[in-house]
Amino acid sequence: MVNFAFLDWFWVVIFIVLMVVCGILFYRLGKRSISDFFLAGRGLPWWLPAASVYATHSATDTPMWVSGVIYKYGLRGIWYTFFSAWCAISAFASTRIFRRSLAYTQAEWQTLRFSGLGAELLRGWIAGWQVFMNMFVLGWVGIAMGKLCHYLFGWPDWLGLILFSSLCAIYVLAAGYWGVVMADFQQGVIAFSVIIIVSIWGIVAAGGPQAITAKLNALGQSWRLNPFAFSGLTSGDFPLVWFLTMLVMAVIGGFGMGTYIDWYPEAQRIQSARTVRDASYSIWSGSALIIIRNSLWAVAIIAFFSLYPHIKSTADYEMAWFRLGFEFLPVGLVGFFFAAVVAIHLSTISTHLNLGASYATRDLYHHYFKPKASERELVWVGRISTLILLVGSFIYGLMMEEITQWLIFALWIMAAGIWLPSILQVIWWRFNSWGYLSSWIANLGLSWLVVWVLPEFHVLPLLPDYLQFWIMMVLGALIYIPITFLTQTEDMNRLVKYYVMSRPLGWWKPVRKEAERRGLLRLEESQSEGGN
């Protein structure tokens, strides 16, 4: 339990009022149209979606997770958090292509890239999956806040979950994405400032950098300062092949769409940027802030380790960064710190409420149930969907203990087996909707086999995660590549339209030739373009 003085509560109340009111102020803009409610009218300068990318991916459970990997692996743990590097290439490749498609969501993009029944099946599947995923993330992050409030104030877990998610829902319901992105900017600034203050405070509390280094040397733990302290090529807890797999997954994944769960919130921010250039810079700089944040946290956790080197329980050392703040900051600043934690929390909750509602409204209600719906009606459906997501997240949050293991597994399998198909759909014209659909289905079966069933029956040994990734990728390809070639190419009219609009990267020569034949590409371009 932490004791709050009057000044601490003052900070908390002022910050919450500021965040909620700041969101509500944009009520009039948010209700104008579905484009405003979900994309802020596609008119944002790059720094607003950038702040939103950063704020969204700083959730209540993020410092716990980063604390856990750094305390366990030392500075090597930075690479566990490095998957956000997919934005390094995405910002200048898939972001550019996706922004030019103008699709509201990744589900909608499927019907622009593919055609016919396969495209509609993909759109429905991705939309339904995203509604579920956003509700799940809301429950997951919400219960993390519940647990933090239990640790701080002794509240029951449900109270922190329901109280803060409901506060956040006020401005998301009122102003939609306008409220989300404006509050995210404010929250991002508060959160980043506090992360710097607490991390430096923690380093000073541990005696400063020299004292930390000396303490680690005395403990025989100096390897913790080496981010490249590999345990071997394939052996130990940090093998070189794991590192290389992670780098390939993260960096090359940027050529695709949907290669990471994080792609989906990013896709919304890409479309909300006012130009292609703004979209690129927003994604690049938002992720750069995440990488800087992770390094700040990492050194603070190293400092924490030098103070408390013998903690064995994962649950205990995952609280490292919170403990630095709540145990070492002076009275008055503790409330400031908690207010920043609330900011971190609200920014993630608001994004997933609005994002889940966008799939429910645009891809399910508008596209499948009522294509002729008016803008006013769609905004209201957006609000009702937001409310359903909120209530659903309470249910998920309260049953999270029982389902977390299963759902983390589900997240992992979806990332592993569809990584390559998610790239192929962007860079290869011949890859069709049936190939992509079959990759999702094959991945579902293969992952159960490779990860659980075959090891259980001793057909396969229990494999390290990097090997599971490569095996699932190869086995999956043996299914979806033949299916792609055995089924028809996509309708050439759709492909040409998509090509002219989005100018995708990779192998699109037959489509480009057809676009040229139809006179849809400018002369200068046709003459000078090579054979991609």
Partner: protein, 96 residues
């Protein structure tokens, strides 16, 4: 950097060129160096400041390479966007 193109027409900018491929290489490198540079600098290790400095120089080079092209793409595309949005609505409303 005279071999880096600065003046782009919309037609030229629509193509994927060496400027894009260079950016694909420099950009992840900047992320890696930023991650290491910040961590080492906070620990007051001298090479941390050097790594951080290199990452910032590379970032400036990257922007110099890609920004003129991104500007050209954006200016041209914004003119066509209204028409494309109308087409998008037709698909959403099953009119196409």
């Amino acid at each position: 950097m005279s071999w880096i193109k600065k003046d782009w027409t919309a037609q030229q900018a629509d193509k994927w060129t060496k400027e894009d491929y260079l950016t694909f290489i420099i950009s992840p490198l900047v992320y890696v160096l930023l991650a290491l540079g910040i961590a080492f600098s906070l620990l007051l290790l001298w090479y941390g400041w050097i790594i951080l400095g290199v990452s910032l120089i590379l970032l400036l080079i990257m922007i110099k390479i890609i920004d003129p092209k991104l500007r050209a793409i954006s200016e041209d595309y914004e003119m066509k966007q209204k028409k494309y949005l109308e087409d998008l609505e037709k698909i959403a409303r099953w009119e196409e």
